[in-house]
Amino acid sequence: MIARSLKWSRHNLFAKPFDVLLSLTVIPGVLWLIWQIAGWALTVAQWDIIPQSLRVLMIGIFPVDQAWRTWVAAMIIAALLGAALGCVFAFRGRHAGGLLLVVAVALVLTGTKGLANILCVAALVALFGLSWALISRVPAARRGLVPASFVGLIAIFAVMAPPGAGLWGGLLLSILLTLVTAVVTLPIGILLAFGRRSRFSSVRWICTAYIEVMRSVPLIMVVYWIWILMPVLTPQLNLADVVRGMIGFTLFYSAYVAEYVRSGLQAVPRGQTEAARSLGMSEFDINRSIVLPQALRVVVPPLVGNVLDIFNTAPLVFIIGLTDFLRAGQMILANPQYGDRTYEVYSFLFLTYFLVGSLITFVARKLEKHLARGSR
């Protein structure tokens, strides 16, 4: 063991004079940094602010007596994410163990917050695991996934709407915004991608113009414009800020999804279309059953990367007055009583963003491997 780690460090850290120099400066530096951070985190930092303001961070200013609605929404999201995961990873016994561990950690962290919360967290994890297991064990259930995700999103809106969409906030808002944008941009992006290849030049021109315009302006500007324009264009609708924000995000990211899908469409060899045509299949059937599945297989990894982009740009909705996760953290700090907890709150925000983001990249990498195996 010792001999092996000695050999490893000789090869990787002290192979050449320059390596030695680098290792001798970088390693102590990193250790010092970790020491400082750990020292602050374990002795100086007053973490009690996090559990105290956890509700605001998670759901913003959503009324406390209506909090059950956010739990329902979170459970629907958990079920949808579990189902999506089940398409790629087979559910195994050891995964169930991992999920139990998550519940246990949650128990420790929220132990002081009452039985109801603990039960809710357990239910969340259970739903996630169940739909994961169901989808990976019963392949036939996958067919219902796309309609189910649309129904799920509508259900979330239905259950969350009554207290007023203006009250949505916190991490839940960030995740909802990401989810809605990711799900709705996919069909729109696919249609735009096909439109850009249409044989009718009017369709081709409109789709190309849309994609190019959206790709050459900043996201904030699109979101802001939609926020200003919607009430002017549809005064009778009186759409909430949240919905207008989602529309802005969807319009913007549809163009990016369209470009990813188009690159996938171009990767499908011409011979595929020709073979399907020679069999007498209609253009619609050819695109739906032959071209699109092969194209999507190629672009799933960049599309998952796009979801990460959406999640990481979600804080920009503060510009139209929404309280997303990052903004919720700033709101807490605006309270003079908590003025000296800046580092604690931002560390928590950083860690949470990092966890969610690295989870998405992890899934993307696994997905890439999974698809590479399938195409052989």
Partner: protein
């Protein structure tokens, strides 16, 4: 015997490049016509016109009783005959072009189910019968990527046959195959010919051409220079360029 394909002074251009020049050719039902010629002579383009994968600019083309619209009409939306023609004409490609995301049996059943609205059970029964015929029943549930080139091409033939075509087009079906796999594909094609299938074949396999063809069509630089019975054509070609071509390809 009635004719199934009738080309009259058919012309095709790529821009200003004249690819097919005044083609006159008719194929009778049950006949096997083999098209030969040098690379780039237009022989693939010729048979790709028959099911409309290539458009032609003027002349006339009658396939299976339907007039194939010229390019101008197709661009203006006159494609109703095209669908009818393609239902009755099968095609096998040099690169097989199987659908890689579908199993062998799904490759064969998708068109009958979508185009002829056959039930899944019925389409699968037909598929398995055809796979048996090309000797690949054991591979029904594999993906194309798991098969050899020769096996893939036999699946491609079965896929076309599942649509019960009146005419089969073969576009260099053995050109992408390793030498040891050519035989198994040619065997399937021989059986098809023996069963009376109407076939138009583009190939470089001269021995096979001579054996199965009812007529040989020699094409060079986009024009048909000679049409004849195989024995007469191979033993005593009339056209000078055909003679030179045969001397080149039969030398080895």
């Amino acid at each position: 015997m009635s004719t199934i394909v009738e080309m009259k002074t058919l012309n095709k251009f790529y821009g200003s490049h004249h690819v097919l020049k005044n083609i006159d050719l008719s194929v009778a039902r049950g006949e096997v016509v083999v098209v030969i010629g040098a690379s780039g002579s237009g022989k693939s383009t010729l048979i790709r016109c028959v099911n409309g994968l290539e458009m032609y600019q003027n002349g006339s083309l009658l396939v299976d009783g339907y007039p194939m619209p010229v390019e101008e009409d197709r661009l203006l939306g006159g494609e109703s005959e095209l669908a009818a023609i393609r239902k009755g004409v099968g095609m096998v490609f040099q690169q097989f072009n199987l659908f890689p995301h579908k199993t062998v049996v799904e490759n064969i059943t998708i068109a009958p189910m979508r185009v002829h609205r056959k039930s899944k059970a019925e389409a699968e029964a037909t598929a398995l019968r055809l796979l048996d015929r090309v000797g690949l029943k054991a591979h029904a549930h594999k993906y194309p990527g798991q098969l050899s080139g020769g096996q893939q091409q036999r699946v491609a033939i079965a896929r076309s046959l599942a649509m019960e075509p009146h005419l089969m087009l073969f576009d260099e079906p053995t050109s992408a195959l390793d030498p040891e796999m050519i035989g198994e594909v040619l065997d399937v094609m021989r059986e098809l010919a023996a069963d009376g299938m109407t076939m138009m074949i583009v190939t470089h396999e001269m021995g096979f051409a001579r054996e199965v063809a009812d007529r040989i069509v020699y094409i060079d630089q986009g024009a048909i220079l000679e049409i004849g019975k195989p024995d007469a054509f191979f033993d005593n070609p009339q056209n000078e360029r055909a003679r030179a071509f045969l001397a080149r390809v039969l030398k080895h």
